[in-house]
Symmetry: C2
Subunit: 195 residues, 2 copies
């Protein structure tokens, strides 16, 4: 019999089972008590799994949050790489301008982060610099840099835009000004960088 392999490092059946149980338990606890106030001990207990297993599989609390977000993060990344315009590259004969794509990215990214604000915040602020270490940041940065190609300093400007989209920043600023104004400001910033 031929079995499908998703990737070279094969995951043992019990490990896969535990991973699923842990993620489900974590999601339930987070939903019920809020991301901040759930301890890793509690998650391990709820999943019927030892602490060592938790940390072995997910590294730390940020890694657990990242794993929970993985699905939707990939969806956004696929839409950016292969999806319809203006977020994606679209068809060759009707390609969106970089400025249009940057606006679309800003909107879509805000949708994503604001929908999962607590989880993203946890994944970005669990330890100082965490945001810049996870692979996702590199993806967003590369995408924005490419859209800014040819301007003064695409890489530096991309970092600046992403700074305004950091989860901890959004958390504080949305509480202060409301989502609408923050979104408009981010879009103005995106426009300014492509002007």
């Amino acid at each position: 019999m031929l079995t499908l392999r998703t990737s070279p490092p094969k995951e043992r059946a019990d490990a896969a089972r535990n991973r699923a149980v842990v993620l489900a338990a974590a999601a339930a606890l987070f939903r019920e008590h809020g991301v901040e106030s759930v301890s890793m001990d509690a998650i391990a207990a709820a999943a019927g799994v030892g602490k060592g297993t938790l940390f072995r599989r997910f590294g730390d609390k940020a890694g657990l949050a990242t794993a929970l977000l993985d699905q939707q993060e990939r969806a956004l990344q696929e839409a950016i790489l292969f999806g319809a315009a203006p977020l994606g590259p679209g068809e060759p004969d009707a390609a969106p301008t970089p400025a249009e794509r940057l606006r679309a990215f800003t909107n879509a990214y805000l949708d994503y982060v604001l929908t999962h604000l607590d989880l993203v915040r946890m994944s970005e602020t669990a330890s100082p610099g965490a945001r810049y270490r996870i692979g996702a940041y590199r993806f967003w940065h590369r995408h924005v840099s490419l859209l800014l190609a040819g301007r003064s300093d695409p890489e530096a400007d991309a970092h600046a835009l992403l700074a305004a989209l950091a989860a901890d920043h959004l958390h504080a600023v949305v509480a202060d000004l409301g989502e609408a104004r923050v979104r408009q400001a981010a879009l103005r910033l995106a426009d300014a960088l492509t002007t």
Copy 2:
């Protein structure tokens, strides 16, 4: 005999003495071992003081870092409020434009943060949202907002500029691109907001 009082809540002599000893010990340990790897226990021990005292006086590690920065933070704030142009308001007959002042603020703030990057980073990232809770952030935000008066949304744009000047962000981006490019990008952003 007339004694000078700095403020209504009078500080007891022993408390003042301990505060000074603690700050000196913390500064020494930070200088020697780096901000990250010094524990509050170590600071208390080095200062010959109990842990309770440390937390009572400074709240947490971020508060301790803030106290150490207090001197220089005040100096910058004074220069902004009362100093010479273009950072300060200057003389009535030769006032700088808001755009000039915003560039000057960006430069001066970067000087300040980059000089004390580890301490500022600790004060901003000790706990999620810490940056937005300390009074200093409100000061910078108000200042930038005032300089942007009359434009689309001064408060939202001020938050966006300050996001690019966050210590954790600067730490990561300076490591990636170097100080010069980051500074130029921040200045371009300041210019864009006043255009």
